[in-house]
């Protein structure tokens, strides 16, 4: 029962607070992946030409196709992050989670051929009792830079565990 657990904050969290880690390098961004991203995220309507029509995109300020701001070049890794596709209902305190939200600040656009480097850190957390029981709100910061070291975006995401 959740009432038996005093805290969901772990020693590992205390140790990792503020420490950049999980550096990853994406495969080169491909035009085809951008096109598919556009089709999926605009479904069932046609996505903007900026995301798939080279001739059109060449005439814009971007001088070519760019990726939508939410495009994820890290999708489909060969090595699967542990626990990502866990199955079955979770009932233990702290084992259930929700996506609380996020704030993304954008720098330069992603273009085909770009290689993105990502790193993350546990920024902060806040624990309190909610209608879900003991609930832990964690803030994780993620930073993406392209192959020229230019900032593509930062994301502060809020994870909720209860």
């Amino acid at each position: 029962m959740t009432s038996e657990v005093e805290t969901l904050v772990t020693a590992d969290m205390q140790e990792k607070r503020g420490v950049w880690e999980n550096e990853r390098v994406s495969p080169p961004v491909s035009e085809s992946d951008i096109r598919k991203w556009g089709i999926a995220s605009y479904w069932p309507e046609k996505p903007p030409r900026l995301f798939w029509d080279t001739d059109y995109a060449n005439g814009t300020r971007w001088k070519g196709i760019i990726a939508p701001h939410d495009f994820n070049p890290f999708a489909w890794p060969i090595e699967r992050p542990a626990g990502r596709e866990a199955s079955g209902p979770r009932t233990a305190a702290g084992s259930r989670g929700m996506n609380g939200g996020q704030v993304e600040t954008f720098g330069v656009a992603m273009h085909p051929g770009d290689v993105i480097t990502s790193r993350t850190r546990l920024k902060d957390w806040n624990e309190r009792t909610t209608r879900l029981g003991l609930t832990l709100f964690t803030e994780t910061e993620m930073e993406w830079r392209n192959q020229r070291g230019e900032l593509v975006k930062t994301r502060i995401s809020t994870g909720i565990r209860y």
Partner: protein, 143 residues
Amino acid sequence: MPINVRFEDVKVGDDMPGWSRTTDFMNWNRYAAVNDEFVYIHMDDAAGRAALNERGAFGMGNLRYTYMLNALREWIGDEADIREVGLQFRAINQKDDTLTVTGKITDKRVEDGENRVFLEMNVVNQEGQPTCPGHAVVVLPNR
């Protein structure tokens, strides 16, 4: 849509045009496929109910975030830029919901050499229920 709206043409209190999608597994599965986001609560009704959603599987929050970006892009056009977007997930996207992205301008100012327009945003379902309050900052060209 190279330039849809210019900095001088918007004012505080203006609404951006609404942008809507009716969502079900066709939208969710396509998004899951490109984002590699295969999570049982978004795929399987039993898993959705086990996660305390009586109606079963439900849509991913990331897709509503995407819809906010799509709405902004459609409004500002291709020569403008999106500088920041944030949101909180407060309600679930149920199957067959019609979601509409809304936005109202709360401020506009020149900052760091950019014409920045600030918006309060949300994604509202067909019952008028706001599901994810948020905000955005876009950069618009001059006239």
